[in-house]
Symmetry: C2
Subunit: 171 residues, 2 copies
């Protein structure tokens, strides 16, 4: 027997290993993962729409402790400790409806693209407007198997309010 | 020899397969993938900053054909055919500087969080302003190994312009 010729058993083992170890093509999220994400969205919306809004509970239900929120017309907000007062300072809001349009991911990392609708009373306004917009979130599966948002960015569909006419333009 | 007792060879094969098939922990992007993404960003910025901006080349260098851009204060824009006129109608822009803050991914899917800076001449304005903002993009590795953006959302850091005083408030 020559050392340069693998034995039949060794060859068989290598063939079996190569069959058993076929790397699966990258696949999307499981239905279980998608359902877990939807459940977190539903729970956050429930908290956000409660008559007395517990933003401490909201940020903990939805985001990881060091998550980053990227709101329009302001700087990034990172972490529960800064998120909670940021949400508390948000203009009065009701009927918040987030809607997942698509969710995809690999392993423990996923993204969600969605739309939102909410009634929003802007500073100085007496009546709420119906704000609609869109968002992308990055989600991360946690050690306990739950999912949380680690990055969140959104913007409004509504056009920027037309500027009031300047005083000198008024005849 | 009993059929209910696996042979030593069979046992050895199963042990070897189980060792060889250890699922690796999910890992981030390779340095090669990160460099490939940065190269696409640099090329797009080069096209976007050219004196004569070729938005057809820009969208093809940066996005997949069915990518979705989610701009502030307007609806989603999907696909090269709609993106190109959307970029062409963008207010005059120069010195566009995208900056990747972080990039992470699994397999053929990645996200980028970044910031941008650009000189932007808004409708009705005579002087450009320095707009800065932030973005999240979802990137997908293509069949040829290159990376392109499939989803893109951004917003400005700048506060919404304070409304001009109303005519009746001017004494």
């Amino acid at each position: 027997m020559s050392y340069s010729r693998p034995s039949a058993v060794f060859g068989l083992v290598m063939i079996l290993i190569s069959i058993a170890c076929q790397t699966p093509a990258p696949t999307g999220l499981s239905e279980t993962d998608k359902a877990a994400i939807q459940k977190v969205v539903d729970e956050a919306a429930r908290i956000g729409n409660a008559p007395t809004k517990d933003w401490g509970a909201y940020v903990r239900a939805y985001y990881t402790e060091d998550a980053v929120v990227l709101p329009p017309n302001g700087p990034a907000v990172q972490g529960w400790a800064l998120m909670e007062p940021w949400f508390a300072a948000f203009p009065p809001m009701s009927d918040f409806r987030p809607q997942i349009i698509e969710v995809d991911g690999r392993g423990d990392l996923a993204y969600v693209r969605g739309t939102y609708s909410m009634m929003l009373t802007l500073p100085g306004a007496t009546e709420p407007i119906n704000d609609t917009g869109k968002y992308i979130e990055i989600w991360r599966k946690q050690a306990d198997g739950s999912w949380r948002v680690i990055r969140d960015i959104f913007n409004s569909d509504l056009p920027v309010a037309a500027p009031e006419p300047k005083a000198e333009e008024i005849k």
